[in-house]
Amino acid sequence: MKGNEAIAEAAIRCGCRHYFGYPITPQTEIAAYMAKRMPKIGGTFLQAESEIAAINMVYGAACTGRRAMTSSSSPGISLKAEGISYLAGADLPALIVNVQRGGPGLGGIQPSQSDYFFATRGPGHGDFHVIVLAPASVQEMADLTRCAFELAEKYRMPAMLLADGTMGQMMEPVVLPEEAVDPDDVMKGKTWTTTGTGMKRPHNIVNSLYLKPDELEKTNLERFKRYERLAAEETRWEEYMMDDAEICVVSVGITARVSKNAIVECRRRGVKVGMIRPITLYPFPSAPIEAAAAKVRCFLTVELNMGQMSEDVALAEKCARPVRKCNRVGGMIPSADEVAAAIDRIAKEGR
């Protein structure tokens, strides 16, 4: 199954019946899959007139407590920024998939990770964050889709699946959950939805407009308390060959896969290198990186951007160790040989 298709099927199996999108390479397979499947299962597939319309349709559907999503690629996500901010301001759970391509501007259509800052710092105006998950396999494209919906609902905030073009386009074996979530079940326990009072309860209001500054301040403070809880309870990462590592690679998505090959190659030559692969980018796994700083001499970030994540690594390890970069941009991907050469350069410095 293609990575993009795995996202779509996983979303359907976890009870999502509302997809709103607008086509853009390299994520169009998500929309194509939804267009085929949704009408057959009583769901909604709607190709909106624009990305902005699509994200606002997600807002509307999310108000009802139903699982709703949209997907796009980098330039399209920029257009959705306003709507994402509104979702965050209204504390609505929703899934936004970003299968990144090279930028800025229209950029290119080849894989990229250059929306890292945009996603992790809060993609829109105002003080807010979205949960950011970075899959590194087709299996994770599926698993993290489900995880994104669940976390979004648990913390009442939008979640973004931040993949790169390679993850969307590649095919790998994938195991999907046999048991599908009933779309009605996801409504249970949600007391805030605008689904009609039935004359039995006061009106629920979903809104992001607070004209009284003290009230608005309160919503912001409360929201950031939730972010703290999210960081404490839901930060995820994977460690690879870190036990005796002297060099720590930090990488996500396709570059983490390339780095794994490079690490195997370098280990064969006796270079003690390992990797920390963040799975949540917001919240960022700062604790394991800080812990690693006590035993490694250098970090190496491998990214498809100019080194955006390397700043978070340096912040996490409080600049205790140098952070080197191995990066390509514009849709180019470093080869395992290039990453291995970067690791070897660091290894030689140490001798």
């Binding site: 896969r257 090959n261 395992a336």
Partner: protein
């Protein structure tokens, strides 16, 4: 054991499809695998390729830099990927479309007039399947008897009537290799 394959040629020659069949055969045999297409403003007539990795261990990077097997169906693809083939690797060339020889001496070249053979079968578009059959018969990266099931799974319901013809093309490729060996 890990086999890294690149299939390259013009868009419309069925390279992505033959890659999918190969990958699916790996899946049916319980192997680890990945399939990665080149994507872009590709269309019929443009260049196109896909990378397939079949392995006994989990696949690291799905990107193939040094293929063990290169299948080429046009000259630009041979120019582009010939230098990248791993030493000791194999290059399968559709010799009815690529006229120049392979210059590398540290790889094995298998020339198959696949497009001509496909035309003789009355299905010129199945040259890709002839080459795939040849690869499987020559190298055993997946078993030859997995191919019918792999094809059946990969071919879309809309084109199910073409299953037999595809299978025949794969077998033609296999026979070509057997003939070469005897």
């Amino acid at each position: 054991m890990t086999t890294r394959t690149i299939m390259a040629g013009f868009g419309g020659q069925g390279l992505l499809f033959s890659g999918k069949v190969l990958a699916y055969a790996g899946l049916l045999e319980g192997k680890e695998l990945s399939w990665l297409p080149s994507y872009g403003p590709e269309m019929r007539g443009g260049t196109c390729n896909c990378s397939v990795i079949i392995s006994d261990e989990p696949v690291g990077s799905p990107i193939v830099t040094h293929p063990d097997i290169l299948m080429v169906m046009n000259e630009p693809s041979l120019d582009k990927f010939e230098p990248a083939v791993a030493p000791g690797g194999f290059i399968f060339v559709d010799s009815s479309l690529v006229t120049r020889g392979v210059s590398r001496t540290d790889v094995q070249t298998v020339g198959i007039p696949a497009t001509r053979m496909a035309r003789e079968m009355g299905a010129v578009s199945l040259a890709n399947m002839i080459l795939l059959g040849a690869i499987v018969a020559k190298l055993g990266c997946v078993r030859t008897d997995t191919m019918p099931a792999a094809l059946k799974h990969t071919i879309s319901a809309r084109k199910a009537d073409l299953l037999d013809l595809n299978l025949k093309a794969v077998e033609t490729g296999m026979r070509f290799i057997k003939g070469e060996q005897t």
